[in-house]
């Protein structure tokens, strides 16, 4: 008895009812973007989930779970082509496990203090704003100077090469300190736990510009690390905060798989630089919406802490 809306599905952990097509559509849209641009999509999905009213703590933990699946399907393709540096991946992973463990601890603490929503939103504003602006600048510059040849040096020798615990990474053709990938992994691990992202958008540039890895093996190696770090985040969030919604994760996944297939098919037919400019604009739009929500006068300055923010 009572109202009957067949499009609605009740999410057992978020404890709310959502429109099933909205969730599938969002998964499809973000999947399309990730297929087109070869990005993970967590940095777009988590804010979108927050926008439709999913408690931020549930959005972050559930998205980590979804990224496990997306990264597994991605890494298999790269592994078959031999584009994974496992030795480098393990070093990144050691840092990642420590970082994500610390991140989940910090997350729980911020939740008790009632500041987790704010910290999640602010982190997204900072990272999406920075990345969006950099990408926009990069793509406009490239479009403007398309005909000019610019030589780039991606392997500088500086103080980073003086660090101890040097290791040989055959696949990456590098002889660098193991502390470098560990630190990169550590930072990405913290972000992964707090923002519900894989962290590829930070790790990939760091691997190219700081570690000096060849571009061809960067994506596969980062995906390898992301699988284990997001798996660690999922397990820790489930054990301490009980915020992983498996029903929501599965719905996002279905939409994501379909979207990514379509995106990957179209990616070769569209011009790269214009496409990257478009992604930059999308990132900036999400960022703007987040800023807008943070600075506008709330409908009611008082809010009741739901069970996820206690």
């Amino acid at each position: 008895m009572g109202p009957h809306r067949p499009m609605q599905i009740y999410l057992p952990i978020a404890e709310m009812s959502v429109n099933i097509f909205v969730i599938l559509g969002m998964g499809g849209l973000v999947g399309l973007v990730s297929g087109l641009f070869g990005v993970g999509g967590g940095f777009l999905m988590t804010p979108l989930l927050i926008f439709i009213g999913i408690p931020p703590a549930v959005a972050v933990a559930t998205e980590a779970n979804q990224i496990v699946a997306a990264s597994v399907s991605g890494v298999l393709a790269h592994w078959r082509r031999g584009n994974v540096d496992f030795r480098m991946g393990v070093m990144l992973l050691i840092g990642g496990i420590i970082g994500s463990g610390f991140g989940v601890w910090l997350f729980t603490l911020l939740r008790e203090l009632g500041q987790i929503d704010l910290v999640i939103r602010l982190s997204f504003v900072i990272f999406l704003g920075t990345i969006g602006l950099l990408m926009l600048w990069e793509s406009t510059r490239t479009i403007l100077r398309q005909r000019r040849h610019i030589l780039t040096k991606n392997h500088h020798h500086n103080w980073l090469h003086g660090l101890p615990f040097k290791m040989r990474f055959r696949k990456s053709r590098l002889y660098i300190s193991a502390l470098l990938p560990m630190t990169v992994g550590l930072i990405v691990g913290i972000l992964s736990a707090i923002m519900g992202v894989g962290g590829g958008f930070i790790m990939v540039p760091a691997m190219i510009y700081i570690l000096g890895m060849p571009t061809s093996i960067v994506i596969g190696t980062s995906l390898f690390q992301i699988i284990f770090v997001t798996a660690n985040v999922t397990v820790l969030q489930a054990a301490t905060n009980h915020t992983v919604d498996i029903v929501l994760a599965l719905l996002l996944l279905i939409g994501g798989v379909v979207g990514a297939q379509i995106g990957a098919k179209f990616s070769n037919r569209l011009p790269g630089e214009q496409l990257r400019g478009l992604l930059a604009l999308m990132v900036l739009a999400v960022c703007t919406k987040l800023v807008f929500d943070l600075v506008t006068v709330p409908v009611d300055p008082y809010n009741i802490a739901d069970t996820f923010n206690l």
Binding site: Q8, A69, A238, V257, A264
Partner: protein, 254 residues
């Protein structure tokens, strides 16, 4: 259910009470009998809220008040303040004994037949709820502001309802009202009190319970996630790995 069917159903049930005098199980006191269309509300996959029908028969027609109270919990209310242009939570207050759901329905506006003392004694109306604050350092004025905000917030979520005139008499003695639970309703045992006032005095009172529970897959997932979080997390990862692998197989074929 179609509104018309719902209506026919209510009349049928009310007639049932009158015709089978003395038999209805809900009768405990002479002069007032009540029952609910359902005693258990199941939260399942398609749950979008639920409407229950409360119906009753009174020997003499007076004013009827129906109060529904959900399970009590502790609730934290926070106030956002502007810091460097950004709205962030600054002050917070914890209330205990806060009902998760609280609805008052009556046949007439309450103030037309009830005094403040009566309302206070029977806790009729959200302003008469006993919400206690443990912190002794807070001023009464501050507590009042947070208290109002708590009630306001719950009203916005339709978890607190104050609806005069929604207890409807069908003829002289039969009455009915709808109890509306939104989709965010908490699980637990809900107490339904029905008061009958004659000439400004409490003449009869009856009460019954409704149980709201999660059932099926929803309940199992929720229980599993909260009781065995670690195992749940490991399972969630395994499902994701399987799904990712399947997706990759599909990718390769196309």
């Amino acid at each position: 259910m179609h509104p018309l069917t719902h209506y026919a159903y209510s009349i049928f049930l009310c007639l049932g009470i009158v015709l089978s005098e003395g038999i209805p199980r809900a009768i405990a006191q002479e002069g007032l009998a009540i029952d609910l269309s359902e005693k258990v509300v199941d939260i399942t996959t398609g749950f979008v809220g639920s409407n229950l029908l409360l119906f009753g028969a009174a020997e003499e027609s007076g004013n009827i008040v129906v109060v529904v109270r959900g399970p009590q919990t502790n609730v934290v209310v926070r106030r956002k303040e502007r810091v460097a242009g950004i709205w962030m939570n600054r002050t917070q207050m914890e209330f205990s004994q806060v009902p998760a759901f609280y609805a008052v329905a009556s046949s007439q506006p309450l103030e037309t037949f009830l005094s403040k003392d009566q309302r206070k004694r029977l806790k009729i109306g959200p302003e008469y709820l006993h919400l206690s604050v443990a912190d002794p350092t807070l001023t009464l004025d501050e507590i009042q502001k947070f208290r109002d905000a708590l009630i306001r917030g719950r009203q916005r979520q339709e978890l607190y309802q104050d609806t005069p005139g929604t207890v409807i008499f069908i003829g002289e003695k039969l009455f009915r009202t709808d109890i509306k639970f939104p989709s965010t309703v908490a699980v637990g045992i809900y107490r339904v009190d029905v008061y009958q006032f004659l000439a400004g005095r409490l003449a009869n009172a009856q009460h019954t319970n409704v149980t709201i529970r999660k059932t099926g897959v929803e309940a199992e997932i929720y229980e599993f996630a909260h009781n065995r979080g670690l195992a749940y997390g490991v399972l969630a990862v395994l499902i994701a790995v399987m799904a990712g692998w399947l997706a990759n197989l599909m990718f390769r074929r196309t």
